[in-house]
Amino acid sequence: MRVVVTRSIARPGRTWQPVLLIALTVIGTAAISVWKPTALVYGVQRAGLYAAVAIPMALILGIVHIVNLAHGELMMVAAYLSYFAARLLGLDPFVSLVPVAVVMAIFGLLVYLLTVKHALKAPELNQLILTFGLAIALSQTVNLMFTSQSWKLSLGYVSASATVGDVSFGVFDFVYVAAAIALAAGLQLFLKRTRMGKAALAVGQNPRGAAIVGIDVGKTYAFVFALAVGLVGGVGSLFLAKQAIFPMVGGPYTMKSFCLVAMAGVGNIVGILYCSLALGLAESIIDGIRGYAGWSNMVFFVIIIATILVRSWRERKV
């Protein structure tokens, strides 16, 4: 998708937006804490997972301008790699995280060089079909190799719990919150403080201009794509620690990530943290209302439709 990036990938939105978001977050947090404290805890944890998966997608979309519909499937492949590292080499997912991320980055580079690179100038629809095809190819290959049987590591620490008053809850999922914050902060630092990051930002904003000033656009795209796949690979390892894996496990996360990226605005990495929090809390709150848990699926659709409507309304005003 060839999107004209009008805002910096690393730049936050208008000044009133974060303030409003923070205010809403504080009010919402207080209200949920009174009504159902566990909804708050699990909403935040869920948000962490969503954000950790979505941030690498935002990086690709913001700089390479490709909607990677194989994003969740790449995470799934990484989770399988991590699973085999655990089964065959006895490596804990937290240990295999780095090697798996490196392997996935190399795999991402190959995917970029063999497929994505050749579709950069193609119409947006072709790009979407390409990554959609990649997603199907990855999930079906894994299905053929390992069947649809789900696999899950049994790790004692994922059941770690804390008790506050008479409420007990799991604490492992805060790992995803930490991962999301680390990813967002790390990418901000990378994009603002490093030579390669600045080059990537320049390419994301204006590829032609970047090329004129001597930046190798092709290499930058390849690097960013590989980096994002490596990052989602690392998230895949963490994902494996808690979740059961199977060939189709990645699909829903592609959709959620796309929703979050669209909601936050193309390339707005920090915005993804806020949007994930909103999505995670909203889902968790609706889940907590007896008899209406199924409606939490609607949140995702409502958000994506509302975002598109608001964006088109704003553009018309301009």
């Binding site: 699990y42 049987q149 604490v171 848990a293």
Partner: protein
């Protein structure tokens, strides 16, 4: 005249020889991308190979033609169309999902090929669509209907409470995945348990659909304080649910999982210890049934690992039931084959002898009983029916360590 007689006799002999040397085609559909479907296909092929090795049926070899229904109704319909018109199979078998079966019923009614179904539990859709006898007499349903399952559980828990006086059940909670499978499980359980027990439930989003958080359903269950906690979801939910239950310090006296299949390695998890489950076959039946042991050993020898769900044993049984009926019917003539199948008495690997008796709507229902099992030392042990009990019940579920 004499020449004509000789010619006719020759043709008849050639024809008979060709018939004798031919094959009996069994057509099957299962979702081959799904591990249970693939296991069904392997188990049925194992039975075919065993029968062929022993000389076949009426001097003919059995041939199994399997079509992948992908777990989708339209593919299931296309599978029947192909098996009936292109492969021209003599008998049909197979199936897992009710959604596929209900879509197949109209085309199956069109061809009326004798069928031994290994799946489809949803009575409200599939059995209703089949309709009563004689219109559905060609359909032999091996798998229990949902109301058979519910009734079986009801009887099972009654029997367990009688045998183990310390087991007291008055409150049952069902956490169910929010799709059709979970919802129908809730409705069926509510209809059966609701009259006798205090019954409640809450839905969750299965990991199969991208869910990862069971806290809302577990919290509702924890508040309810059930004596029997049941979850109806998929294999992908099994261990994450247990982990989250432990994290939330939710340990009811009986914790029971009712997924269609369990993850292969769940028995290795200490969290699975003493968790109960419903099923029809488990490797522990090998200890008390030589037929089960023969099936299990042959399956492992052919495929390297044992089956993970009871569907494999059902499919294996289906082939033997068909082969036996063809032998007794002296061929594949439809009416004679139906009569022969009606007289089936097959000592199956499931630990029971399969016969066909009427159910609520159709005339030919095979298995009506489920089993109540428990994970003990990484194995599924049969707790009820007591005739096939392999280990005593561990009760209550020890608190999470």
């Amino acid at each position: 005249m004499r020449k004509a007689f000789v010619a006719i006799a020759c043709f008849a002999l050639i024809g008979a020889a060709a018939f004798a040397q031919g094959v009996i085609k069994l057509g099957a559909n299962w979702p081959l991308g799904d591990v249970s479907g693939m296991e069904c296909s392997k188990a049925a092929q194992l039975a075919v190979d065993e029968i062929n090795k022993a000389g076949g049926v009426l001097g003919k070899q059995l041939q199994l033609v399997v079509v992948d229904d992908e777990g989708k109704g339209d593919k299931g319909v296309a599978a029947i169309e192909k098996l009936a018109t292109v492969d021209k199979v003599d008998v049909l078998l197979g199936g897992i999902a009710s959604g596929v079966a209900v879509a197949q019923v109209p085309i199956m009614k069109k061809y009326q090929i004798v069928t031994v179904a290994t799946g489809a539990a949803a009575s409200a859709s599939v059995e209703k669509a089949l309709g009563p006898s004689p219109g559905s007499d060609w359909y032999f349903h091996l798998h229990p209907w949902d109301y058979n399952q519910g009734q079986s559980y009801f009887e099972g828990w009654d029997a367990i409470q009688k045998k183990y006086p310390n087991v007291k059940i008055s409150k049952i909670f069902l956490a169910y995945e929010e799709g059709a499978f979970g919802k129908s499980s809730f409705d069926a359980s509510n209809a059966i348990f609701g009259s006798r027990y205090t019954f409640d439930g809450a839905s969750f989003k299965s990991a199969l659909q991208g869910g990862s958080d069971y806290s809302a359903a577990l919290e509702a269950a924890k508040d309810f304080k059930p004596d029997l906690f049941i979850w109806a979801g998929y294999a992908q939910d099994a261990l994450p649910l247990l982990e989250q239950s432990k994290a939330m310090k939710f340990s009811p006296p009986i914790y029971l999982g009712a997924p269609p299949a369990w993850p292969t390695d769940i028995g290795k998890s200490p969290l699975a210890e003493d968790i109960m489950l419903y099923g029809m076959w488990a490797p522990s039946i090998n200890d008390i049934s030589p037929i089960s042991k023969k099936f299990s050993d042959s399956y492992v020898a052919a495929n390297g690992t044992g089956p993970t769900s009871y569907f494999a044993a059902l499919s294996y049984s289906a082939v033997y039931i068909i082969a036996d009926a063809i032998k007794r019917a002296r061929g594949t003539d439809r009416e004679k084959l139906i009569s022969a199948l009606e007289a089936t008495k097959y000592a199956s690997p499931l630990g029971e002898t399969i016969t066909f008796t009427p159910s609520k709507i159709i005339k030919h229902q095979g298995i009506k009983n489920q089993k109540i099992l428990q994970w003990q030392n990484g194995r599924q042990e049969v707790i009820w029916p007591f005739e096939v009990q392999s280990k005593p019940l561990v009760y209550p579920l020890p608190s999470w360590k």
